[in-house]
């Protein structure tokens, strides 16, 4: 099979098309013929593996100290068709259309991928593979951030970094539940955010939301880059601050703020549970939730896609089409 192999830590050029052996599923695994995968900021951070933060160091120990060894293909989510199943698999059969997070296995940038049978979820028929591939990271994290912030109808919500995968999902879910949503991102993404329901938008280059004297019931910081102490001051009494992409130091500060200031600061960690998928499916089927796809790239142009995402231009999701582009 063909795959974009992660040959070294570094620039997008380290992703190279290679011919590998097609994997065979273990007893509890399914073999998925990949139709679509995605590129997120996290994929780019992993690819570079730059810096000395404890998370990066831990991942280097896992993936390979000097170069990728245990993990040689990136890509954290996919959608595709079940091609074969292991002996003990009961949930799926050949031909089922699914989407799945790859979690620590990674490896979505390939024609085939084996995953434990507990990972995939049946794809709603109304979704294309491209749309479904964006759900595990964006949809599940977006939902989990809202759950952590206990969002309620009528609440005012600010999403910092709303223009990406997680933000566009969180925005639509919050709107469906009746929240009033303010989105912060760069100017070129604001029209898209308005078009999927944002009540207010703020261009972060023009305006610092922590200084405009507005307060919110819930603030979700997807990118974790806003000033921590000032952000918590933009909370209403009983407000909740949800921190995504949290560094170790902000985790410690979150705990400290919770203990000393009585403000609720929550570090969200996504849960890939069946009730979360059922929740998203219900909203998708009600027509309240769609995946925002900015661009699609064929697998061979993965490096190009990484460059685009890295430049922070991405509006919503960037999708990699696999099966179709290989057949051509």
């Amino acid at each position: 099979m063909k795959a974009m192999v992660w040959t070294k830590y570094g620039s997008p050029n380290v992703l190279q098309l290679k011919e590998l052996e097609k994997p065979t599923p273990k007893e509890n695994e399914v073999l998925i013929k990949v139709h679509a995968a995605t590129v997120t900021i996290a994929d780019c951070e992993l690819r570079r593996m730059k810096g000395l933060s404890p998370l990066i160091l831990a991942f280097r120990i896992y993936a390979g100290i000097l170069k990728p060894k245990r993990i040689t293909i990136l890509g954290q989510e996919l959608a595709g068709e079940i091609e074969a199943v292991g002996k003990e698999v009961t949930k799926f059969k050949k031909g089922d259309q699914v989407f799945a997070p790859c979690l620590l296995h990674l490896g979505a940038y390939a024609e085939y991928k084996c995953l434990p049978e507990s990972y995939p979820v049946l794809k709603p028929a109304s979704l294309t593979y491209e749309e479904a591939a964006t759900i595990p990271t964006g949809g599940i994290n977006g939902l989990d951030f809202l759950r952590a912030g206990n969002i309620q109808p009528g609440d005012s919500l600010l999403i910092n970094g709303a223009g990406g995968s997680i933000g566009t999902y969180a925005l639509q879910i919050a709107k469906a539940l009746g929240a009033n949503v303010t989105c912060v991102d760069s100017a070129e993404k604001l029209d898209m955010l308005r078009s999927i329901g944002a009540n207010h938008v703020i261009d972060y280059r023009q305006e610092d939301f922590t200084k405009n004297s507005q307060t919110y019931d819930v603030i979700i910081d997807v990118i974790g880059k806003s000033s921590f102490s000032r952000s918590t001051q933009s909370l209403k009494p009983n407000g909740r601050y949800v921190l995504g992409n949290a560094s170790i130091s902000s985790r410690i500060r979150a705990r400290w703020t919770r203990m000393t200031m009585g403000k609720t600061v929550i570090v969200a960690v996504a849960r890939y549970k069946s009730e979360y998928y059922a929740f998203l499916k219900e909203l998708i089927e009600a027509g309240k939730l769609k995946s925002v796809i900015d661009r699609c790239y064929p697998l061979q142009q993965l490096a190009e896609a990484h460059r685009y995402v890295e430049a922070s231009h991405k509006k919503g999701n960037v999708v990699i089409t696999v099966a179709d582009s290989m057949d051509k």
Partner: protein
């Protein structure tokens, strides 16, 4: 039959009186002709889908799929399913059933018990969830023993009024913490000591307790710790999410350092043995439900609004009047 249906998630306006089909009992179910029902915090948490995870329970994301509303019930058995052995038509029962705010409701056989004859339907309907919460919190989570000094915070609400009486029935010395308007009520429940929280902060008085049972506790855990004896137990029932999280997350950590233990009890389990135990206490006059107000079924929304906005003294009960009886 008439029933209150929860048509959406939100304010009490989503509760509407509608005409629906009278249900028929299956297998282990009992059809109860409802005479009274009562409101619990659980009801308006489900009404508002607050906390958020209620929407993740498969009950419907945007609005509830199952619109039946209310849990606590008392009434007369009208019919029984084929596998029901403990009850017969005509039995007077109390317990919990999904959809209690209706003229008729289906109850699981194991979720109900016989109502003491000397107690009214209204009194019996006030008991189940609030008293089970107090009983299981004090007995199971905290391990209450006679002779202990027990402090009940939030003593005047639905759970609190039962907690004070149950703690007394276990032979403990009870200190009740409440607002000035509830002092008289606490005296009537035989609390040994009563603290008006507007005048005195019990976490700063130097007094220490073997057990603190906090309904919607609002002090920080470190303050509670000051008021606990070594080996003391703190149990919180309900409360806002941050408070529950704090007890769950920090609680276990604080516990490790010294003998004190902090726990948060989840939702009470409906246990028939416990319902029977409560029926015995009711029968013997050891506990008496405190009822703040009665509302007719048609005004359930008003009643829920009252419970949410005013801190009710004890319980608010819904009375169901059947036209054939009038």
């Amino acid at each position: 039959m008439k029933a209150i249906l929860q048509t959406n998630y939100g304010s009490p306006d989503v509760l509407q009186l509608r005409e629906v089909e009278k249900p028929t009992p299956k297998e282990d179910q009992v059809l109860v002709k409802v005479r009274a029902a009562s409101i619990n915090a659980l009801d308006y948490r489900f009404m508002r889908a607050n906390p958020f995870f209620i929407r993740l329970m498969g009950r419907g994301v945007l609005k509830p799929k199952d619109m039946r509303f209310g849990r606590d019930v008392a009434g007369r058995v009208e019919a029984v399913g084929e596998n029901v052995t403990q009850f017969r038509p005509g039995d007077e029962i109390f317990g919990t059933a999904n959809g209690a705010f209706a003229e008729y409701v289906l109850a699981k056989e194991s979720y109900i018990a016989l109502k003491p004859a000397n107690r009214s339907f209204e009194e019996a309907a006030a008991v189940p969830i609030a008293a089970l919460t107090a009983l299981q919190g004090l007995r199971d989570t905290a391990g209450i023993r006679s002779g202990q000094k027990v402090l009940i915070q939030g003593a005047s609400g639905g759970v609190g009024t039962f907690a004070v009486q149950l703690a007394k029935s276990f032979g403990t010395e009870v200190t009740a913490v409440c607002s000035p308007r509830n002092l008289k009520l606490m005296r009537s429940l035989d609390a040994d000591n009563i603290i008006d929280y507007t005048k005195e902060d019990f976490t700063k008085s130097g007094q220490r307790y073997d057990l603190i049972f906090a309904v919607n506790g609002y002090h920080s855990l470190s303050s509670y710790k000051r008021a606990l004896c070594p080996q003391g137990r703190y149990v919180c029932a309900g409360g806002t999410l941050p408070q529950i999280f704090q007890a769950m997350l920090l609680g276990s950590r604080v516990s490790e350092k010294d003998g004190r233990k902090f726990s948060s009890m989840g939702v009470a389990k409906v246990d028939q043995k416990d319902l029977v135990y409560l029926a015995e206490l009711l029968d013997a006059g050891k506990i008496t439900p405190v009822i703040d107000a009665h509302y007719p079924l048609s005004q359930t929304a008003e009643a829920v609004r009252y419970v949410e906005e005013k801190h009710a003294q004890g319980k608010v009960v819904i009375t169901v009047i059947h036209p054939d009886k009038a």
